[in-house]
């Protein structure tokens, strides 16, 4: 029993730890003061979204390899969960930006990259709903998913170069990048568990959604 559930319990424990200890842990003195703590939630959610989109991409590839409906189901449900996390990431980011940059939406490559990602995947959902036949829908949307994901990654990679400086850390040319391993050690003790927690929670939601979709399918047949 426990063998199957351990990661769900772990996800809950990690997130519980993140939302409690995240407010107690000592953080370094910076310009943005206590809002720094949002890093545990905001960035963690982006990682959750990204993981889901990669999962979707992989399962779309798998679908085109063998045309098993199972893989298509994972691909669409992973996109759904990814979009959920994407919106959560945007809302937490907007709250944060409002305090630190003075406005909920500022012109910044990372924000634009994220917004374009959401638009791409909302379009993916609309594409799916406009194809009647089940197999055709799976095939066409898998092709779009792969095509769009690759171009989106290119977009996210080249945007900072086009836009010049980002307000986010880590994109200026002469600054040292602020990768997780460069974070203050005390923050790392919360950031890594929080990130893992969000990704596991996403996987959990994904699993439930796949089950629901399977049941719905059985009822329809």
């Amino acid at each position: 029993m426990l063998k199957k559930y351990w990661w769900k319990i772990l996800s809950l424990l990690l997130l519980l730890y993140a939302v409690t200890y995240g407010f107690y842990v000592a953080i370094p003195e910076t310009m943005i003061l206590q809002t720094m703590r949002n890093l545990f939630y905001h960035v963690g959610m982006w990682f959750g979204m990204f993981t889901m989109l990669i999962v979707s991409f992989i399962y779309s590839l798998k679908y085109l390899k063998g045309f098993h409906e199972e893989n298509d189901r994972v691909a669409i449900e992973a996109v759904n969960v990814g979009i959920l996390f994407g919106f959560l990431g945007i809302f937490t980011g907007m709250t944060w930006a409002n305090f630190t940059w003075g406005s909920p939406w500022v012109k910044d490559p990372k924000l634009n990259g994220a917004a374009v990602g959401l638009v791409i995947y909302l379009a993916y959902i609309i594409l799916r709903s406009s194809v009647e036949d089940r197999h055709k829908r799976a095939k066409v949307s898998a092709v779009y998913n792969i095509f769009a994901f690759v171009l989106w990654i290119i977009f996210v990679l080249i945007l900072p170069r086009l836009a010049g400086d980002s307000l986010h850390p880590a994109t200026g040319d002469n600054s040292t990048p602020v990768l997780p391993m460069h974070l203050d050690p005390s923050m790392r003790t919360v950031f890594y568990p929080a990130m893992t927690g969000w990704i596991l929670l996403g996987t959990w939601i994904l699993q439930i959604r796949i089950r629901i979709s399977k049941l719905k399918h059985q009822i329809e047949d």
Binding site: V116, V119, F147, L151, R161
Partner: protein, 220 residues
């Protein structure tokens, strides 16, 4: 060699088809002229080089979406079935991309001429601008051909074409605007090489993806 022969025949077929249904081509040309005219009336006298640049590419994007969206729906599905039996899917998609490239090259030159005529010439570095135009026609035609193929499999084709392609075409469009923007502000080529390399990478990636993915779209 077989691919090359198929490609030639299919490419010629596209041209013959276009000449036969000349109203489609005329429609796009008129669309181009009217949009440029609308921007001319809306922006006359108040235009900066940045606005000039953005307007030009946005108009070209809309013209491209309009011109290419018909690629896979102008012939009836039964005829597609026939092509499927006589040609490889790779040849089909490459011939469509090549034809659309040809179309886009003509349309972008006409767009540029008409735009310059009405909005004034702000280009300082014609060589760089033309480079952007060529790479742009290439990129737009390959991305949009692929999206047209995807959208043609679904109902509600036209609005799908726009919502599927706009977010995807952005990396290309923004890099193009950056390159042509520097062709408008200075006569030098400095600093544009990395951007041109990015454009080439995007173009190669799109062609590769089209080559690999199109066979799945084609078979029903």
């Amino acid at each position: 060699m077989l691919l090359k022969r198929e490609l030639t025949h299919l490419f010629l077929k596209e041209i013959r088809l276009e000449l036969k249904q000349r109203y489609v081509l005329n429609g796009i040309l008129l669309y181009l002229v009217s949009t440029v005219f609308v921007t001319y009336l809306a922006f006359t006298g108040t235009i900066t080089s940045e606005t000039w640049n953005s307007l030009f590419w946005i108009i070209l994007l809309f013209v491209a979406v309009n011109g290419i969206s018909k690629s896979f729906i102008q012939e009836n599905p039964a005829r597609h079935l026939y092509y499927y039996t006589i040609a490889s899917p790779e040849a089909i998609v490459l011939s469509k991309i090549l034809y659309n490239l040809f179309l886009m090259a003509i349309l972008s030159i006409l767009a540029l001429l008409f735009f310059v005529l009405l909005m004034g010439n702000m280009i300082q570095n014609p060589g760089l601008f033309v480079t952007a135009l060529i790479l742009g026609s290439f990129g737009l035609s390959s991305v949009l051909t692929m999206i047209a193929a995807i959208a043609s499999r679904a109902s509600n084709n036209f609005s799908l074409m726009a919502i599927l392609s706009f977010p995807i075409v952005l990396p290309l469009l923004m890099t193009l605007m950056k390159v042509s923007g520097s062709a408008l502000t200075s006569g030098s080529w400095s600093g544009t090489l990395p951007l041109i390399i990015i454009l080439l990478i995007i173009n190669v990636a799109v062609i590769l993806l089209a080559f690999l993915l199109f066979p799945y779209l084609w078979r029903d």
